[in-house]
Every structure is written in C-alpha cells, then in structure tokens.
C-alpha cells in the first residue's frame, strides 16, 4: 500500500500570498501538502536564507521589477532574481516556481511603448532562460492566465496599493490552478497515448457512406475544425504523446482517406490503429496489450457520446473526452485543457517514443516467426548500457521512477533532489537498452543506499527478455555486498514483481502486511544473450 507523500510548499512574494494557499486542496489527491507563507516582501531574504521547503513559490507582480514602466534596470533586476534562485538551488534541495509578469504597458509615446513591451518580454525571457537551464525551476504564465480572465476583471488596483493584494478572487483561483498544474506535473505520471476516433472526429462525415472525396477536412468551416484537431494532435505527437486511432470502418476505407486526402496527419503518425467493427473498448484494450502499456496511460477522444460511455463503462482507467465538432470553441480547446497530458518538459525518450513503439511492433512480428523463445531473444542482439550516478540521467531517471507502477518493487517516488541525494549517498543505476530494432532509451532504474536495494524498476516495454534479471545481477556484482537487502512493497499495481526477488537469488527474511524483506544469496543467473556495457 502506498501512502500520499508529504509535500511542503512555501510562498513568498511582494503581494499577500495567503490566498494562494488553496493550492493544497488542489493537490490533495497527489500529496499531503503543508503550506507556509513567508513574510511579504522578503524575497531576497528567503531565497538566500535557510528556509527549507519542497516547493518555493515566489510570486512577484510588476512592482518588484519596476515602479511604472519596464526598462533596462528592471531587466537587470530579473537577472539578479535569476542569480539568487540559481544560487539557492545550488546549495539547497527543492523546486522554485516563478511567474511571468502580469502587466500591460501604456504610454503616450509610441516608441516608448515599444521599448516597454520589449523590456517586459526581456524580463520574462530571463525567467524562461533560468527554467531552461535549471530543471528545478518552473515559470507559470501568470500574465497569460490573467489575460484570459481579462485584466480589468483580474486586478483590483485599490487593493494592490492598500493591502498588497492586487488580484480579484477569480484571478487568485486561476493562478492557484496554474501553481497546482506546475507542482502536479512534477508528481504525476503523464498519460502517454491519445486514441482518436476517425469519422466526425479526424474528419467530418462518415467515410464508408460519404466517400473519401466528400469528407470535411480542409481550410473552410466545418472542415477546418477537423484540420485544426489534426494539427493539434500532430503537435502533441511532437511533444512525446503517442497517437492511435480506433474507428468502426473497413480498414481499406480508413487507409484510403490518408492515401487520397491531403491532411496534416499521415497514417504513419499513428503508432497503431484498429479499423474494424469491434467495440471501441475492445480495440483500446487490444492497443494497450500491443503497446505493453496500462489502460491508465490512455486518453480517448470521440464525437459520439455513446462510444464515450461504452469505453468509460468498460475501461474506467481510460480518460474519455467528447469531441463536439458543432462547438469548435470547446472542441479545439479540449486537448490543451487535459491536465493529464501536461509535463514539465519533454525528454529525448518521450520524443523517440513513436519509433520505439513501432520497434516493439516489429519485435512482436519477429517473435511470431522465430523457432523458439530463446532463438528470438538471441536474435534481438540486446545490449544494456548501465551508468552509475550519472547526473545527466537525473531527469529521465526521476521521470521513470514516478511513472512506473507495474514492474516496481517498492513504488517509492522521488523528486529530482531526492535522486540527486541518493547519488551522493549511494548508487543510482540507470539502464539503457539497445537492440537491433533501436534504442529504447533509459528503461530501468536501481537505487542502492545503506546496503538496501530501495528501488528497482523497469519500464514495461523492456520486459519479457530477462533484461531485468541481468540488470539486477549487474547491480549485485557492482555493490559487492554479500549482505545486500531488498524489499517488495505491494501496491495496487505491482503484483507482477511479487516473486521477482524469490526467483532471482534472494532469500526471504520476513513478510507482513507492509511487504516482504529479503537478503541477497546467490543473485540472478547470467543471461547469455544480453551484453552489459558499463558506462
């Protein structure tokens, strides 16, 4: 059983930050959040001081950077802020969240207005540069968030000057949502797959009835709604999301649309599709099996409420969204609003996913044609590159730790800081798998500290080849600790590893409701067809 992790959030700003404390409630399903508000205006003191929180939110309105108009001095102030944040992160754990400056310059002189707009953009650019170079910095778009509300509705100027609180409650709520998103993106696994319907979703009309040439998917309304959705999906693919399609159509009809119509999406943008007359829930389940992904990695989009309900009822783990083509103002903001697709950044592994999953499909084809399982595995020419305490892998290792549920001995979650600390105190192994069909990237993590294997996990897409045993064998050899301990901690999803340690040369010391404790005996057997490359 996993329990909610504790997370401390501190707020400091040049405004009253107390109303932002509502963020604790927004994150209640992810963490037990405690909130602390530092004295108003003590930004430099808090950043330079010993305050210790997991997340430090520094909320600054424009008055911190300039009095009435952004200029070169205010850009220098932003640089000073960035230096303070970087210095804090160099000496202390935790994440810092900053915000874009919500301000609309005005001037009676046009050229001055342009200068102000440029300076404001440069202030924000300093913050973005900081976030690019510091993984532990997020910048929420406060300016954009309040612009959507309308600055006139968002700001209360009298309250800004009288009480150091410039925001109306609706603005506070909107900012709290952004803060919750920024924190959640670091705690929660991102869904990996968007499964999309075809008729009246990818295009307007029904291909089997209307014919390919009559489908609406072009630059005029209503075809533009579908064209735009395809562009958005293509953008998601470039941000590391896998695209699949399920449609009740003859396969040749579905393929003909891609062959005959000029559209943003091509058929090979989809990592897999199912075009047949089966229920969509069956097809989605089939896709999950083929891709070796859990159903809770899937998002489903369809124009038909019946299909949405069918999938929702049979596959409750799948997140379903209705695409209503008759309401483009909602339909085309749908994807941007899906919180479970948000991420702090996109790793190289994310971007390579489509190729990796297509590689997996090729492996399955080879497996079907191989004479035996051993012959198949040997033919893969598997090499596992293992690095110990490599700071360059910190981002991917943390990401993997926080999204791997099934092959995970303890389901212990870590922040990047905690992984970095583990590197200093012990060993963090990152395993990258390469075979004849491609580079899977880092798919396995082991953490050993104080003589205990406290984390051992493997991405599901690397399973079924004994890679996990060979990695564990390497870790045991490197640690050279005959008393090495290990644990299995059950969760709702990790039953598949319940006997992993028993089967790989560890002896059971004891068990209870919290799990099982082991000690190394002989360790895993060698797997001849897997080469280990130490990095």
């Amino acid at each position: 059983m996993t329990t909610a992790r504790a997370l401390s959030i501190g707020f400091v700003g040049n405004v009253v930050t107390n109303p932002f404390g509502k963020v604790a409630g927004r994150l209640a399903d992810l963490a037990a959040v405690s909130v602390e508000h530092f004295p108003i205006g003590q930004i430099e003191q808090v950043l330079a001081g010993p305050a210790s929180v997991d997340v430090l939110v520094v909320h600054l309105d424009h008055r911190w950077f300039f009095d009435v108009a952004p200029d070169e001095a205010s850009v220098a102030r932003a640089r000073g802020l960035a230096e303070l944040v970087a210095a804090r992160l160099a000496r202390a754990p935790g994440t810092v969240i900053l915000n874009t400056v919500p301000f609309v310059p005005v001037s009676s002189v046009e050229s001055d207005l342009h200068d102000q707009l440029e300076a404001l953009a440069r202030i924000n650019a300093v913050l973005f540069d900081l976030a690019r170079s510091q993984e532990r910095v997020s910048v929420i778009d406060a300016a954009g968030t309040l612009a959507i509300l309308g600055f006139a509705n968002a700001f209360r100027e009298r309250n800004r000057h009288m009480y150091q609180m410039p925001y109306a409650p609706a603005a506070v709520d909107a900012l709290v949502e952004r803060y919750a998103d920024a924190v959640a993106a670091r705690l929660r696994a991102r869904r990996k797959v968007v499964v999309v319907d075809a008729d009246n979703t990818l295009w307007g009309g029904v291909v089997g009835e209307d014919g390919v040439e009559n489908l609406e998917v072009d630059s005029d309304y209503p075809g533009i709604v579908h064209t735009q959705l395809q562009r958005q999906l293509l953008r998601l693919k470039r941000l590391g999301i896998l695209l699949c399609a399920v449609t009740k159509n003859n396969e040749e009809d579905f393929r003909a649309v891609f062959a005959q119509r000029a559209m943003p999406l091509r058929l090979d943008d989809f990592v897999a599709y199912r075009s047949n007359w089966s229920e969509k829930s069956e097809n989605i389940r089939d896709l999950a099996t083929a891709l070796n992904l859990g159903l809770d990695s899937f998002i489903f989009l369809d124009d038909n409420p019946f299909e949405i309900e069918e999938v929702r009822a049979r596959l409750p783990g799948v997140e379903c969204h209705l695409f209503d083509r008759t309401r483009p103002e909602q339909a085309l903001t749908l994807l941007d609003g899906i919180a479970s697709l948000r991420a702090r950044n996109v790793t190289a592994e994310d971007l390579a996913k489509t190729d990796q999953y297509r590689g997996e499909a090729q492996r399955q084809e080879l497996q079907r044609s191989a004479a035996s399982m051993d012959a198949y595995l040997a033919s893969l020419e598997i090499r596992v590159h293992i690095a110990r305490n490599n700071p360059g892998a910190l981002r991917r290792v943390t990401q993997l730790i926080n999204k791997t549920n099934q092959f995970n001995l303890t389901t212990r979650r870590y922040t990047e800081d905690e992984v970095a600390t583990a590197m200093q105190a012990g060993s963090v192994y990152a395993a990258r798998v390469v075979d004849r069909f491609g580079d899977m990237g880092i798919v396995g993590v082991a953490i050993v500290r104080n003589g205990v294997l406290e984390t051992f996990l493997m991405s599901c897409r690397a399973l079924g080849r004994r890679i996990e045993s060979q990695v564990l064998r390497y870790v045991c050899q490197q640690e050279a600790d005959p008393e090495l301990r290990a644990q299995y901690r059950p969760s709702a999803k990790n039953r598949m590893v319940e006997t992993f340690l028993d089967e790989n040369g560890f002896a059971l010391l004891g068990s209870g409701p919290e799990g099982k404790d082991y000690r190394l005996t002989r360790g895993p057997d060698d797997t001849a067809y897997i080469d280990i490359v130490a990095e």
């Binding site: 009253v16 109303p19 209360r156 309250n159 009480y163 109306a168």
Partner: protein
C-alpha cells in the same frame, strides 16, 4: 442571480452576500468557533490581517455577483484597529451595505 433593482434591496443583498462570504471563509479557515459570533462581537481581534484582506476580496467578489457590478470595499479604516468596521460583526455587514448604497 438577477441583480436586485432598488437601492435598499441591493444593500440588503450586499449585506447577505457579506454574511455568506464570511460563513464560507470560516469553513475554509477551519475556524468553526467564529460561527458563534453575535452581531455585537468583535471579528477584527479574532482574525489576522491576511484573513481580513481575504475577507475583503471575497466579499467584493460575492457582492459583485449579487448586485451586478464591482463595488470597491477597500478603505483605510478596515485594517485600522480603532476604526475598523470589523470591530462589530454587524458593523461589517452595515459597512458593506452602505458601500453598495453609496455606489
């Protein structure tokens, strides 16, 4: 909600909005003992200045929904320990109603 039309009904609506807001914040703050305060009781001494600001902002928002326009409630007296309308709970509701009546 349809905005009330006459000045007196707008003021009454505003005072009710102030009560509703306070009740909601008492729950948010986890301060159930404040629910027992009577009209002559002192709210100012029982909440900190940040809570006062939050009460003010939330009341402005609720009043805006009730009367259909934004009525600034901020005033130097609110955080003034000798003059604050929050010194008497009923005084706060009257203050909100007067602000709406004044427009």
């Amino acid at each position: 909600m349809t905005p009330p039309t006459s000045t007196s009904s707008r003021s009454e609506g505003a005072a009710a909005a102030a009560r509703t807001t306070l009740d909601r914040l008492i729950e948010t703050w986890g301060r159930p003992e404040l629910s027992a305060l009577g009209p002559e009781d002192d709210l100012f001494d029982r909440i900190d200045s940040f809570a006062v600001v939050e009460l003010l902002l939330e009341t402005e928002s609720e009043v805006e929904k009730t009367v259909g326009r934004y009525v600034p409630l901020a005033d130097e007296s609110i955080l003034d320990s000798t003059r604050s309308p929050l010194r008497r709970l009923q005084g706060w509701f009257d203050y909100v109603a007067d602000a709406v009546a004044r427009g």
